[in-house]
C-alpha cells in the first residue's frame, strides 16, 4: 500500500511552529485543491491544535515524503519550517500512526477524546471535496473502529486530565448532582471560562460570574447564558453559592478565612466547595480547616490530574493491541484486492451458486436432461464471467495494486459479497 503520511506535531516541532502550521477549514480546502492537482490521487488533511498531518496516495511512485513535506512548507513559507520538523510514515506505519492519533495515544494529553471527532471531521471534509476515495474511505472506516474500540474497551480516556475538569470531578465527589446547585466563578479569564463551561456541561443549575472588569464578566455571562454580580459586593452573596471557583490574576487574597466562616454560618453549615485554581491563590488556604468547607487549590487538583494520567498511561498497551488488530484487519482486506485471487474467488462464488441451484432443482429433470442442464448452466456462468475475467487479467498485467485496480477489485468484491461469503465459510 503506497500510503504516504507526513506529520508535524508536539514531538517534532515547538509550539510556535505548530501554531504557524495551524490550518483552518478554508486553508485545508485550498491545500486539498492544490494536492489534488499536483500530488495525491486521494487523501486527508488533519489539523488539530497540536498537529498538522497529510495522508494520501501519490499520483505515481516518484512522489515521496519530501515532495509532500515541501508542499506543506510552501504553504507557510514565511515561517522557518524545515523537513526536520516532520515525521514521515509509509504504508503500514502510516496507517498505524493514524490509528494512534485517533485513539488518543499519540496526543500531548494522552487519551484526549476530542481528537476522535477532529479526525472524523477532517475525513468528512476530504469526502466533501472528493479527495477521499475508495481506499481512503476504507482506511478511515478501520480508523474509526479502532478509535471506538479504544474508547469502549479500555480506560484510555477515563478521568480528568486538566485542572479545570479535575475541579469538576472533585465537586462531583461531594455533590450527587449539579442540577440543583449554584456556582460562582470569580474571574472571566481563560481558566475561569473553561471551568464555567465544564460546570455548565455537567448541568449546573445556576451559574454566576463576577470579574473586576465588569465588561469581561458580561461577555462571558452572555456566551454561557449565566448571571453576573458586581465584583465590589460579591462577598455579600457568597453564602448563596454551593460552589465557588476562583481563577483571577489578583496578587492578593480575594477571600479571607473570615469571609468563608461568615458564609458557611449563613448557609447553616451546608457544604461549600471552594476551588482556587489561581496562581497566586485567591482564597485563604486556611479555609480548609473549617468544617463543611472543601477547599482545594491547584496543587491538590494536580494530584488528581497526575493520577489519571498515570492510569491512562497504563492503558496504552491495551490500545496498541487494538491498533495492531485493526491494522491487521485492514491489511487482510487490502491484500484480498489482487486480481488473481479475486478471479478465483469470483469463479468459486458463481460455481457455488450454480451447484446449489442444480441440487435444488435436479429432480425436476430427467437423467438425460440433467447432463444437459450441467452443460448449459456451466456455459451461462462462463459467458457471464468472461468479460470481468478479461478486465481483471488486464489489471493484473498492468501491475497490481494501483489505486484504480484496487478500487475496481474492491467494488467488485463488494458487489458480489465475496468477502462476506468467505468470512461465512471461514466461520463454518
Amino acid at each position: 500500500m503506497n500510503l504516504l503520511a507526513v506529520s508535524i506535531n508536539h514531538r517534532t516541532a515547538p509550539v510556535e511552529l505548530r501554531e504557524a502550521l495551524y490550518l483552518g477549514n478554508e486553508d485545508i480546502k485550498s491545500l486539498i485543491s492544490s494536492a489534488k492537482e499536483k500530488l495525491l490521487v486521494e487523501g486527508v488533511v488533519l489539523c488539530t491544535c497540536n498537529r498538522t498531518e497529510v495522508y494520501g496516495f501519490p499520483f505515481d511512485k516518484n512522489i515521496g515524503h519530501n515532495d509532500l513535506q515541501n508542499f506543506v512548507i510552501e504553504k507557510k513559507s514565511s515561517f522557518n519550517i524545515n523537513p526536520e520538523h516532520f515525521q514521515s510514515f509509509l504504508s503500514r506505519e502510516a496507517v498505524k500512526h493514524l490509528f494512534s492519533v485517533i485513539t488518543g495515544i499519540d496526543s500531548l494529553l494522552i487519551g484526549d477524546n476530542q481528537v476522535f471527532k477532529q479526525v472524523k471531521d477532517s475525513f468528512q471534509l476530504s469526502e466533501e471535496m472528493s479527495f477521499a476515495g475508495f481506499l481512503m474511505k476504507r482506511i478511515f472506516d478501520f480508523a474509526l473502529t479502532a478509535g471506538k474500540r479504544a474508547l469502549t474497551e479500555t480506560e484510555i480516556s477515563e478521568g480528568a486530565v486538566t485542572v479545570s475538569y479535575a475541579a469538576v470531578q472533585l465537586i462531583e465527589k461531594i455533590f450527587s448532582s449539579l442540577n440543583k446547585k449554584s456556582a460562582l466563578v470569580i474571574g472571566a479569564g481563560e481558566t475561569g471560562e473553561l471551568a464555567a463551561k465544564h460546570l455548565q456541561d455537567r448541568g449546573i443549575s445556576h451559574l454566576t460570574i463576577t470579574n473586576r472588569t465588569i465588561e469581561k464578566a458580561e461577555k462571558l455571562a452572555q456566551s454561557l447564558n449565566s448571571k453576573i454580580i458586581p465584583f465590589t459586593n460579591f462577598k455579600e452573596h457568597l453564602h448563596e453559592f454551593d460552589i465557588v471557583i476562583s481563577a483571577t490574576s489578583s496578587p492578593d487574597l480575594i477571600l479571607t478565612k473570615s469571609d468563608i466562616k461568615s458564609a458557611i454560618k449563613k448557609r447553616n453549615y451546608a457544604s461549600l466547595v471552594l476551588m482556587d485554581i489561581a496562581v497566586p491563590r485567591d482564597i485563604d488556604p486556611d479555609s480548609k480547616n473549617i468544617d463543611y468547607v472543601f477547599y482545594h487549590d491547584i496543587d491538590s487538583l494536580n494530584i488528581i490530574v497526575e493520577q489519571n494520567l498515570t492510569k491512562r498511561r497504563t492503558e496504552i498497551p491495551k490500545v496498541e493491541k487494538i491498533i495492531d488488530e485493526e491494522v491487521d484487519n485492514l491489511f487482510n482486506w487490502y491484500n484480498s484486492l489482487q486480481a488473481a485471487p479475486t478471479i478465483k474467488n469470483l469463479r468459486d462464488h458463481f460455481e457455488n451458486i450454480r451447484l446449489e441451484e442444480i441440487e435444488k432443482n435436479k429432480n425436476k429433470f430427467s437423467s438425460e436432461d440433467q447432463e444437459k442442464l450441467e452443460i448449459v448452466t456451466k456455459r451461462i456462468i462462463n459467458k457471464i464471467l468472461h468479460q470481468p475475467t478479461i478486465e481483471l487479467r488486464k489489471s493484473a498485467e498492468a501491475g497490481e495494486n494501483t489505486i484504480e485496480s484496487a478500487a475496481r477489485i474492491g467494488i467488485l468484491r463488494q458487489l458480489f459479497g465475496i468477502d462476506n461469503n468467505r468470512q461465512d465459510e471461514e466461520k463454518k
Binding site: L170, K173, Y269, A270, S271, F294, H296
Partner: protein
C-alpha cells in the same frame, strides 16, 4: 435433616467469605467485569441462607429467633438482604464489602455457637413475638447499614479534606449519596425499632410475670431509639446535616451493639433467653 442443617450452617460462612472476596477484589481493582457476577454470588448466598432458615424453622418447629445465636444468623441474612435490595434499587455497587463483612461476623459467631433447640418456652411461640423480633431485627440491620454508610461518609470526607485521592475517593459514591443512604437506612431502622418497642410494651407485661421497665435491653433500646429520634428530627428540621448526623448514627449503632451484648451476656432478666 440435621446433617443437612449442619452442612448449611458451615457452608454459609464460606459463601459469605467468597462473596465478600469477590466484592473486595472488584473494589480494589475497579474492573468492570465482575460488576454483575458479584451480585449473582450475593444472590446465591442469600438463597442458601433463606433455605437454611426455612429448613431450620420446619425441622425445629419454631422460627430461629429463640436465642441470641439464632438471632445472629437472621441478622446476618437481614443485613445482606437489605444491602442486596439497596444495590438493586440504587445501582450503587461500590459499598458491598463494607456491609457484607458485618454479615460474615454475625454468621461466623452464629455458626460456631448455634445449638439445636427443639423445645422452646411457650412464651416464645407467640405470633406477637414473631412480629416484635422481626421488626427489631430489620430495624437493627437498618441502623447497622446506616452506621456503615456513616463510617464511609467520614472516610471519604476526610480523604477529600486531606487531598488523599486514593481507593476510597475513586470507588465510593459521593458524599451526598452516602449521607442520603445513611439517613434513609436510619429512618427505616428507627421506624421498625419503634414498631418493636410498641409491640414489646403491649405484649411483654402480659407474657412475662417478672416484667420490669428497668430491664437492661429495654433501657438500651430506648436510649438508641431516643438518640435516633433526636438525630432524625434535627436532620428533618434542617438543624443538623452531614458529618454531625452520621456521627450520631455511628454512636447510636455502637450503643445498640453494646446494649445488646451487655443485656444478653452479662445480665440476667426476663429478656434473656440463652
Amino acid at each position: 435433616m440435621v446433617n443437612f442443617i449442619d452442612f448449611l450452617n458451615w457452608l454459609l460462612p464460606v459463601f459469605y467469605i467468597v462473596t465478600f472476596s469477590i466484592y473486595s477484589y472488584d473494589f480494589m481493582t475497579g474492573k468492570k467485569e465482575l460488576a454483575n457476577s458479584k451480585r449473582l454470588f450475593l444472590f446465591i448466598t442469600l438463597l442458601f441462607h433463606a433455605l437454611y432458615l426455612i429448613v431450620r424453622t420446619i425441622y425445629f418447629g419454631h422460627p430461629p429467633i429463640t436465642n441470641v445465636f439464632e438471632i445472629f444468623t437472621v441478622l446476618a441474612f437481614a443485613i445482606s438482604f437489605s444491602y442486596f435490595i439497596l444495590e438493586l434499587v440504587t445501582d450503587i455497587r461500590g459499598t458491598g464489602p463494607f456491609i457484607i463483612i458485618i454479615s460474615i461476623l454475625f454468621q461466623i459467631i452464629s455458626s460456631i455457637e448455634i445449638e439445636h433447640i427443639v423445645t422452646v418456652k411457650d412464651v416464645l411461640k407467640s405470633n406477637l413475638l414473631g412480629i416484635h423480633v422481626f421488626s427489631a431485627l430489620v430495624g437493627y440491620s437498618g441502623i447497622t447499614i446506616s452506621a456503615v454508610y456513616g463510617f464511609l461518609y467520614l472516610m471519604l470526607y476526610k480523604e477529600i479534606k486531606l487531598n488523599q485521592f486514593g481507593l476510597i475517593f475513586n470507588r465510593l459514591p459521593n458524599l451526598e449519596i452516602l449521607e442520603r443512604l445513611s439517613f434513609s437506612s436510619a429512618v427505616i431502622g428507627f421506624v421498625l425499632l419503634t414498631c418493636a418497642i410498641v409491640i414489646g410494651i403491649i405484649w411483654l407485661p402480659r407474657a412475662f410475670p417478672n416484667f420490669s421497665y428497668a430491664d437492661p435491653k429495654l433501657i438500651g433500646t430506648s436510649i438508641v431509639w431516643i438518640l435516633y429520634g433526636i438525630g432524625i428530627t434535627s436532620k428533618l428540621l434542617g438543624k443538623w446535616r452531614g458529618k454531625k448526623v452520621v456521627i450520631f448514627s455511628i454512636i447510636g449503632f455502637v450503643i445498640a451493639i453494646l446494649s445488646t451484648m451487655l443485656s444478653n451476656f452479662l445480665s440476667v432478666s426476663f429478656h434473656s433467653f440463652y
